[in-house]
């Protein structure tokens, strides 16, 4: 769904800096394989979010000594996350309400 990827990525990064591959693993793992992030859309999204100033990137070394680009949540990103979480909650509530009403 439009915009959900950003929410997922931001939420993942709220726990600490991660590289792109880490983010795909994290989302797949936490959602118990329900959600899979496609690499094809992850990277453009990451770079777009970087431009918005929500996340910052820097080169670092991964657990098994590979150079990797690490993304970190910025102050603006934290706010963005809060806003999107709120939005999401409202959305799901709204959807739930509609579904219940349909009974």
């Amino acid at each position: 769904m439009q915009g959900t990827l950003a929410l997922l990525v931001l939420k993942s990064l709220a726990g600490g800096p991660m590289h792109g591959y880490g983010i795909t693993l994290h989302i797949q793992c936490v959602s118990k394989d329900v959600l899979r992030v496609e690499e094809g859309s992850l990277y453009p999204a990451l770079h777009r979010m970087e431009q918005e100033g929500w996340i910052r990137a820097e080169w670092g070394t991964s657990e098994n000594n590979r150079r990797a680009r690490y993304y970190r949540l910025s102050e603006a990103g934290r706010k963005q996350l809060a806003a999107e979480e709120k939005n999401w909650a409202r959305l799901t509530e709204a959807v739930a309400a509609v579904l219940e009403f349909a009974q």
Binding site: H19, G20, Y21, L25, E38, E39, G40, Y43, P44, L46, H47, R48, E50, Q51, E52, G53, W54, S62, N64, R66, R67, A68, R69, S74, A76, K79, Q80, A83
Partner: protein, 903 residues
């Protein structure tokens, strides 16, 4: 990502590509490693990892495109948004553009002139090597006394610092042979003049070394303008013979249109160049070391030599010559040679003036910026809600600042473009404001540097006035801003303080400009108060020039008697012209304020000769009616009479300054004393053969060097006794100079058809041309100061109006509680006074420092003149206080009930 890193991103696309590459590769490798760990074969693991990416190249491009397109897109968005905001507030936009365009336009206009006059190198190869060479006599503090021919030869052959050195000898010349005699601007030079300047003829040739002959040589070179004016641009002009001052010359070449002689001329651009060797007639032969008849010298330094190095070498050389010729160069007279770069010589004191004006327009622009910053601050208060919302929905602060800056830069760029178009459009009318003697005026053009300047200054302006309000706006606390609605008082206190600081600095800046203008106004009034010593109204002047052929046998006016007869005939004829009350004649140096001066040393009989302070005077030859025609008073003795001619006793008149200097007790003491003109040497005088002249009268001072120059002592000789080749006609009349000029021309043609009449001008025009430079600086600085005052008043009015509109409520309560209108006004006054007080004090301190740059432009006013400082400060304080009372007064008129409800 900040704007900076975005720019970096754009500029380093290459690096960016590598980054993306590496990031994706590391992803694939990690995935492959994990796949292998879960049991896939290495090949399979890698294939799977890559497959998940789909088209890796496409992805790479997508990802990278996001980075590059990102900031272009953002910039575009910012621009569109900024444009929308400007369109939405047309009033604000219009006022801002007008204010800014005024400031930027003034800067572009002045820069255009500064660039053409001061910054652009002269249009000759290696212009830094070109110098003027001056002889100075330190003991009598005379500069540029002229050079003698042997001195020139020494400098050329023995000094070792010059590649080329040439005489610069501006003169009048008569061209005869055509229907009417014509006067042209003539420049005598050495044969290497054009080599020195690196100039080539467009048609024909310039000089060759073979043209370097004693006396004048036959080939002459003409300017492109004269080629068009005098010869209808006929290409067959080369080889044509012309008569200059009666002598036959041959036109050898025509110069390209852009070539100009880099130096002062008599009246116009040089028409005609001739080359001379000076060691044969018409020049005294053999040349004497002590006769400094060459009025100017220009030279090109050897490559690699700086002016300072050359000057040091010349100082040694002068010391050597002084030892070699002790008679000609008595050590006490302090003869020295001074080098001045041609560019500096050409520009002279205009330099200070232009830099002062440049500084002034800089101030005006700063004030305009401050005003706009204040305006934006006030507006950002009403935009706080919009900004808070944008922050709340996730706009980064840096993005917001960029957005706001884009708005101000867009505003400034539009203003800059408007300013540039206006300046280009008005170029010619603006240039007409400039004094005609401003050097290199014809070179003023809109070069790429001017465009670059306009662009840079516009962007800079946008950043300067936009940055503070943008930072302030982005600091907005969203919570309070959202809560407070449009009134948004969240950061108002700090913002108000900042606004007041801005207004105070604006007041300080305008005070500096106003004081500068005030000092110039006072100087100008002092200058106008100076009595010139003659009555310039209803006085028409015209020049004539008797040709001097190189061979005395061809000269119809060779003897003084012939010249005197001619002068008398001319005077008789023009005196009889209808409408002429009185007429007089004088030589070229008798015309006041015309830059044509001749100084000479002299001896006073029975006065001890003080070699350190040789008497020096300006000398002019005049007809008997000269002083009565100019309305200059006789203080003692008598004027000249018709019998003061070549047969009569040798007589002279002196002016008050000279009389007071040497006969301090009484003017009458000077009468009957005798003086001898000439060059004074140690213990003797080269004037020994010159006649003794008896002083027959003392006349009032004539300010021949201008109102603001010290009165130089003058000696006057009777024109009929010492008749000259050049002449100035004076006519006391209220007739129109145009028709009168034709009558004078007709009369002179009757006397001798080969003699042209030129430069017909009223004395009023000569005087006002002399004041033009001063008036120009005064008018411009006055306008800029006026604009500054207006902007500062608007500024403080705006801030006070804003403050009071926000306090309507409070004022309502106060009024309801019984406060009188006067109390409210007093409160406003007190608040305004603090801001104004700070501004005025800062402005006074700034002026104390900055007015020193004006010193050379002032006349009998000190740069720290207390009267000007106090008056102007009081004026500014009064105007700005008034500006802050108006909104307070309006606030008190609101019905308290309405005010209380005002929320």
């Amino acid at each position: 990502m900040s704007l900076l890193s975005r720019l970096k991103g754009l500029l380093q696309i290459h690096r960016l590509e590598r980054d993306v590459d590496e990031e994706l590769r590391s992803h694939i490798e990690m995935r492959a490693a994990d796949n292998m760990a879960s049991g896939m074969s290495p090949q399979e693991a890698r294939y799977d990892a890559q497959r998940r990416f789909g088209n890796a190249t496409l992805l790479k491009e997508d990802t990278r495109a996001v980075d590059i397109v990102g900031w272009i897109e953002t910039a575009g968005q910012n621009l569109r948004y900024a444009g929308r905001m400007l369109r939405r507030n047309p009033g604000f936009t219009l006022v801002s553009i007008l204010t800014l365009a005024l400031g930027i336009g003034a800067n572009v206009a002045i820069f255009t002139v500064v660039h053409a006059v001061l910054l652009r190198p002269l249009p000759y190869p290696h212009p830094e090597q070109l110098v003027r060479v001056y002889d100075d006599i330190r003991s009598s503090q005379t500069h540029g006394v002229g050079m003698s021919v042997p001195e020139l030869w020494d400098l050329r052959d023995r000094s070792g610092v010059f590649q080329d050195i040439s005489v610069i000898f501006p003169a009048d010349a008569n061209i005869t042979g055509a229907e009417h005699p014509e006067r042209v601007e003539f420049l005598g030079t050495n044969a290497n003049y054009f080599t020195m300047l690196g100039a080539h003829a467009e048609l024909g040739r310039t000089y060759t070394p073979a043209d370097a002959l004693p006396g004048f040589s036959e080939p002459v070179v003409i300017s492109d303008a004269y080629w068009h004016r005098g010869f209808g641009a006929d290409p067959k002009v080369i080889g044509q013979k012309i008569r200059i001052d009666g002598d036959l010359y041959m036109i050898a070449g025509v110069l390209p249109p852009e070539f100009r002689h880099p130096g002062r001329t008599l009246a116009a651009d040089v028409d005609l160049w001739a080359t001379t060797g000076f060691a044969a007639p018409p020049f005294p032969a053999p040349p004497a070391r002590a006769v400094r008849l060459l009025p100017g010298v220009m030279a090109r330094l050897k490559p690699g030599l700086t002016v300072a190095q050359a000057q040091a070498q010349l100082d040694n050389f002068v010391a050597q010559l002084t030892r070699q010729f002790p008679d000609e160069y008595p050590p006490a007279s302090g003869w020295s040679i001074r080098l001045v770069p041609v560019q500096q010589d050409l520009v002279g004191n205009v330099r200070t003036e232009l830099f002062v004006l440049f500084g002034a327009v800089g101030f005006v622009l700063l004030i305009a910026c401050v005003n706009l910053a204040n305006l934006l601050l006030a507006r950002s208060a009403s935009r706080q809600r919009e900004i808070a919302i944008r922050l709340a929905i996730g706009a980064g602060r840096s993005r917001l600042i960029t957005q706001l800056l884009t708005e101000s830069i867009l505003l400034a760029t539009i203003s800059g473009a408007a300013a540039l178009i206006t300046v280009v459009w008005l170029k010619n009318s603006l240039l007409r404001l400039a004094p005609a003697n401003l050097p290199r005026l014809s070179e003023v053009s809109f070069s790429p540097s001017v465009l670059l300047f306009a662009f840079v200054i516009s962007i800079l302006t946008g950043v300067i006035f936009g940055l503070a309000p943008a930072l302030q706006a982005a600091r907005t606390s969203q919570i309070s801003a959202l809560r407070e609605g449009t009134r948004g008082a969240g950061s108002s206190k700090r913002q108000l303080k900042f606004s007041r600081f801005l207004v105070a600095s604006e007041i300080a800046l305008s005070l500096v400009l106003l004081i500068g203008a005030g000092l110039l106004v006072r100087s100008f009034r002092h200058v106008l108060d100076v009595q010139p010593g003659f009555e310039p109204h209803h006085l028409v002047t015209a020049k004539i020039w008797l040709a001097v052929p190189n061979n005395p046998k061809d000269d119809p006016y060779f003897t003084p008697e012939k010249r005197a007869t001619f002068h008398q005939e001319i005077l008789q004829r023009i005196s009889a012209l209808p409408g002429v009350e009185q007429a007089a004649l004088g030589n070229g140096t008798s015309l006041p304020m015309d830059f044509n001066r001749f100084q000479t040393t002299f001896l006073i009989e029975n006065h001890p000769l003080d070699i350190e302070r040789t008497p020096v005077a300006e000398i002019a030859n005049v007809s008997p009616s000269y002083f009565s025609a100019l309305k200059t008073p006789l203080l003692s003795g008598r004027f000249f009479s018709d019998s003061d001619n070549t047969k009569g006793q040798q007589v002279v008149l002196i002016d008050e300054t000279l009389a007071h200097r040497y006969w301090p007790n009484s003017d009458a003491d000077a009468i009957g004393q005798r003086v001898q003109l000439g060059v004074v040497r140690r213990g003797q005088t080269s004037a020994a053969q010159n006649p003794w002249l008896t002083i027959v009268g003392v006349v009032g001072n004539i300010k021949s060097d201008g109102f603001d120059a010290a009165s130089a002592p003058h000696l006057y000789r009777p024109l009929y006794q010492a008749p000259t080749y050049d002449g100035v006609v004076y006519l006391r009349t209220s007739m129109d100079p145009g028709t009168l000029g034709d009558s004078v021309r007709a009369e002179v043609r009757h006397a001798d058809p080969t003699i042209p009449v030129f430069n017909v001008r009223t004395m009023d025009i000569i005087v006002s041309a002399f004041l033009a430079e001063r008036r120009f600086a005064l008018e411009l600085l006055g306008i800029f100061a006026g604009v500054a005052l207006l902007l500062a008043s608007i500024g403080i009015y705006g801030v006070m109006a804003y403050t009071f509109s926000r306090r309507t409520n409070e004022i309502g309560i106060r009024m309801a509680m019984g406060a009188k209108r006067a109390d409210i006004l007093g409160m406003a006054l007190k608040e305004g006074a603090v801001t104004i007080g700070f501004g005025v004090v800062a402005g006074l301190l700034g002026s104390l420092v900055l007015t020193h740059f004006l010193q050379t432009m002032l006349f009998s006013v000190k740069a720290t003149d207390p009267i000007t400082f106090v008056t102007i400060a009081a004026l500014l304080a009064a105007v700005t206080l008034l500006a802050c009372l108006v909104p307070a007064h309006r606030a008190t008129r609101v019905d308290p009930l309405i005010a209380l409800r005002h929320e």
